[in-house]
Amino acid sequence: MVSKKHISITVNGEAKETEVEPRMLLAHFLREVVGLTGTHIGCDTTNCGACTVIMDGKAVKSCTILAVQANGKKVMTIEGLSKGREKLHPVQQSFVDKHGLQCGYCTSGMILTSYWLLKNRKNVTDEEIRAAISGNLCRCTGYDNIVESIKDASKKMEEEGDPIEEHPEIKVRA
C-alpha cells in the first residue's frame, strides 16, 4: 500500500489541504477533490492544453503535473478569473465579444494561456499570440477568432486594468 501524502495547495486564493495518493494528477485534484470542473481534460497526453492552469505565475498543463508537485504552490483555474465579481474578466469578455469559442472545450485553457501572455506582454502581435497558444489546440474555431479575442483582451486589459490585481496571491509574475 502506497503511503498518501499531505498537501496544501492554494487554489484561487483559498488553501486546500488534504491527503492524496502521490499519483493523483493536478487536473484530477482540481476537478474531483476541489470540485472545480472548469479545468478540462482533453487529450490527457500533454498535447492539447485544455487542462491549462496557472501555477506560481506560469501557465502549465495540469494533466502532466502531480498534485504532490503543486504542494505549497498557488494555482489559478478558470474559476479564479472572475471569482467574487459580477462581471466576467476582460479576457473572458473578449472571447464572448469576438466569438473566440464554439464548443468551449478548449476555452478555459485558451483563456488562461492568454491571460498569462497578456500579463507578461503589452501590445502583443499576431505572431506572439500564435506562438503563445501553440500548446493549446482548438478543433472548432480555426484560431482566427481566438487571435482576435486575445488582441481585443489586450486592449481591454490596457484600458480597464486587471481586476485580479486585488488578489495578490494569484497575481501572475513576469
Partner: protein
C-alpha cells in the same frame, strides 16, 4: 489515465535525494519537471516504484554569469532560459533551442536537467550543450564530478550518470569575442519532436573560422558531434562552397532511420538544408560581435 502507483519523496537536500536513490537501486528515479516522465508513466510505458522529486530542493534554479562562463541550475525551466537576456546575448544557439522546444506550457515546467538526463535523441538541449562545449556537474555518493557534454550522452535514453547521481548544474564557458551560434530545427507541428535539428557554434579570427562545433538532434541514436564536418570548416574562410560541403558531410555522416517523421533520405535532405542555414546564421552572428 493515472500513472501506476509509486512512493513519492520530496526531500529538501541533495544529499537526501542521493540517499534515497542509493537505497532503492534500479527502482528509484528523479522527478524534475515531469514533462517526459509523467507522460511515460501515464501511458504505462514506464513503471517506477519510487519517485524522488527535486521540487523542494532549494537553489537549483538559476542562470548566473561567472568569470569564465554561465552556470545554469538543473531545475531551471526552459522558459526561464528562453527569457534570459544573458543567454540571448551570449549564447543565441541556446536561446533558439529553448524558444522552439515543445510548447510554451511545457517549457514552463520542463527543466534543463531533465532535458539532458532524459537523453532522448530528439531532446533539443543535448546537441546545444555539445556544440557549446558545456560541462555537466553531477553529484553522487562520492561527491561532485564534472563531465563534458560531449562525453555525457552514451546512447538513446542513456547518459554517463550513475543510478544514484543527480545532475546539479550546467556550465557553459564563454567563447571568444567573435563567436556565435544558431540552432535550426525542422518540425512539422508544435507538439511533435523534430524531424531533424542542428546546433552550430563558431569562432572567427580575421576572415577565417578558427573553431567550429556542430551537433545534431533526432538523426542518430544519440546526440553527438559531427567531427568530420567540423574539420571542413575549421581554419577556412566560410564561403558558400565550404558551407555546402560541410552541410553535405553532416547529412552523409548522420544515421537517421525511416520512421513516421520521414524516410532516411528525406531526413538527410532536411539535414543538409538546415545545416547550411545554421552555419550561415552562426556566421552572421559571430561577424556582428
Amino acid at each position: 489515465m493515472n500513472p501506476p502507483a509509486f512512493e513519492y519523496f520530496a526531500p529538501t537536500g541533495i544529499d537526501e535525494v542521493i540517499d534515497i536513490l542509493a537505497k532503492y537501486p534500479g527502482e528509484a528515479k528523479i522527478l524534475a519537471g515531469g514533462q517526459s516522465l509523467i507522460p511515460l508513466l501515464k501511458a504505462r510505458i514506464s513503471s517506477i516504484p519510487y519517485l524522488v522529486s527535486l521540487s523542494e530542493v532549494k537553489g537549483l534554479s538559476y542562470v548566473d554569469e561567472g568569470k569564465e562562463g554561465v552556470r545554469i541550475g538543473a531545475m531551471t525551466v526552459d522558459s526561464d532560459i528562453e527569457n534570459s537576456e544573458l543567454i540571448r546575448k551570449k549564447f543565441p544557439v541556446l536561446h533558439d533551442a529553448t524558444e522552439q522546444l515543445a510548447d510554451p506550457l511545457v517549457r514552463n515546467v520542463g527543466t534543463i536537467g531533465g532535458n539532458l538526463s532524459h537523453a532522448d535523441p530528439a531532446n533539443d538541449l543535448p546537441a546545444v550543450m555539445i556544440a557549446l562545449d558545456a560541462r555537466i556537474s553531477v553529484q553522487g555518493r562520492n561527491g561532485l564530478r564534472e563531465i563534458k557534454a560531449r562525453d555525457f550522452f552514451l546512447d538513446t535514453f542513456t547518459t554517463a550518470l550513475e543510478a544514484e547521481e543527480v545532475l546539479t548544474e550546467v556550465t557553459i564557458p564563454f567563447w571568444g569575442k567573435r563567436s556565435g551560434g544558431a540552432y535550426v530545427k525542422f518540425k512539422k507541428n508544435t507538439w511533435n519532436f523534430s524531424v531533424a535539428a542542428v546546433a552550430v557554434q563558431l569562432e572567427l579570427e580575421g576572415n577565417k573560422c578558427t573553431r567550429a562545433n556542430i551537433a545534431t538532434t533526432s538523426v542518430s541514436a544519440k546526440s553527438g558531434r559531427m567531427e568530420s564536418a567540423e574539420k571542413i570548416l575549421a581554419g577556412k574562410e566560410l564561403t558558400h562552397e565550404v558551407i555546402s560541403k560541410a552541410a553535405s558531410e553532416v547529412a552523409a555522416s548522420a544515421q537517421p532511420t525511416s520512421d513516421p517523421y520521414g524516410t532516411e533520405d528525406y531526413k538527410r535532405e532536411i539535414l543538409k538544408r538546415i545545416t547550411r542555414e545554421a552555419i550561415r546564421k552562426a556566421l552572421s552572428r559571430a561577424g556582428e560581435n
